[in-house]
């Protein structure tokens, strides 16, 4: 079981773009990365024999609202053999929410990322099949954004009931 300091040092070694910050508010403890570093860090965390985060439990999208002008993507990682947890948080600009897809590292990210694209409009670069998943393909807008207002009619059906 690796301590958080070990995890942090391995993450630091694989970051090339910006220094990772410690995520103070997260349980389990985690790091805040810049979006360019996600793929090397994800690969290192999955394949480093000390960490071996073989399971991606959850990916969450968060919209901080039009005033804060940021969006976040949070990855919850778990290692089955070592039984330790970690979190990666990435803060994106709300005008251009784009981040590299990790579905090449963990296949489970495929549908999670489609859901975040559907609900928040975050674009995952190099995703194999980025379509809407829960909402209909011709739905307008991204429903979980804080400033979302639904369309009045969907295929001539009144949305507000």
């Amino acid at each position: 079981m690796a301590s958080f300091e070990q995890i942090l040092s391995i993450v630091k070694d694989s970051c090339s773009y910006a220094e990772p910050k410690v995520d103070e508010r997260a349980t389990p403890k985690g790091v805040i990365l810049s979006r360019e570093d996600i793929i090397p860090v994800a690969r290192a965390m999955q394949q480093n024999p000390l960490l071996y985060f073989d399971m991606l439990s959850c990916i969450t999208g968060i919209d901080n609202g039009p005033e804060a002008r940021t969006m976040e993507v949070v990855y919850n990682l778990y290692s089955i053999p070592f039984n330790h947890h970690s979190t990666i948080r990435i803060i994106l600009s709300r005008d251009n929410p784009e981040v590299e897809s990790v579905s090449g590292v963990w296949k489970t990210a495929d549908w999670h990322e489609r859901e975040i694209f559907d609900m928040y409009g975050v674009v995952f670069i190099n995703h194999p099949d980025l379509r809407r998943i829960l909402m209909p393909a011709d739905w307008e807008g991204h429903p979980l954004r804080k400033d979302y207002t639904h369309q009045e009619y969907y295929r001539d059906i009144k949305v507000k009931y």
């Binding site: 997260a26 439990s57 919850n76 089955i80 829960l134 209909p136 295929r155 001539d156």
Partner: protein, 406 residues
Amino acid sequence: MPTDGVQYISKPGNLFRSVPNKFDAANLRSEEMIINLGPQHPSTHGVLRLEVLMDGEIVKEVVPHIGYLHRCFEKHAENLPYNQVIPFVDRLDYVSSMNSEHAYAMGVERMLGIEHQIPKRVEYIRVLVAELNRIASHFIAIGTYGMDIGAFTPFFWLMRDREHILRLLEWASGARLLYNYIWIGGLFYDLPVGFEDRCREFVHYIKPKLQELETILIDNKIFIGRTANVGVLPLELAINCGVTGPMLRGSGLRFDLRRVDGYSVYPELDFEVPVGEGKMGTVGDCWDRTSVRVLEIHQSLRIIDQCLDKLTGEYIRTRDFDPQALIPKKIRPSAQDFYVRAEIPKGELGFFFRADGTSDVPFRCKCRSCSFVNLSVLPEIAKGILIADLIAIIGSIDVVMGEVDR
């Protein structure tokens, strides 16, 4: 545009604007064809639509289309106080609501820092009702799976026995399926007087029935023929795809969050974690997954027995016991991100909370549902098989569409 009084005006053009398929029929090779399976087919367990690219009887590609049962759980949760989200949590996995409630309540309690103050009697009641519900959920899974592949009788037997569980839970909570029984910091109500005796009677009644089930379904030659060596899920793929629950255990990994995380009072209870061993074919085939579910029912009965011993012995009901005593009047966690997970019958149910520290409403409440993740492995293992086996694989995944679409 329709006028205010009319909700929908039918126009001929509406029919042509249907939901698009991923594959375009014009670009197919001459031997290929697209078969649309569902969303209203009994073997798709709800409203799952599969777009299947076929070459004769061989499946080349499967594309699941989901979202028909989307009820905006996460949007609702962002607009309601923590305690009022629990009825919505019930409706995620509607055949095992107690387990989902347990996971959610546990998460909020940990955020508030009151998880060690919960009385033991409350915790044992929670585990008792959760395990009863786990058996009911596995009964549905096994029964409908049998029906999918042609065994009709076990379904009736299991639904009959599930009815006993539902009546017990209705007696405790007042509802048959959507209980709202486990609250943050306690319970809706103590167990009714006499519940423990009836529960013991049920355990005594159900044990020989499980033997019958194993004879008629699990060890049945036709059932083995339909499920052994079908839909083999290798362990590495299962972990990489995030599969959990009986599917992961069916692939041979002894991984159960009740043991691994040891939440609630599970560390004090004696039970085993069954895994698939490839007895009838390959490790990780449909037969292994089903047999793991049957073995888990036996373990759940063991847990129920131990809970009943505790609830009639050490933590017996007293006149002044109030299961609502510890329920916080104001649920306002400090500012934090929190991920909680628990084992429900389908796998790992996780909740990601972001609390902003200033309101009673979660800023973000994401549900990591196990059926959603387990279903995403279907296109991987359903390549190059017969279409009859595709039905067998869907059934063995045990999806509940309420939880997939949320």
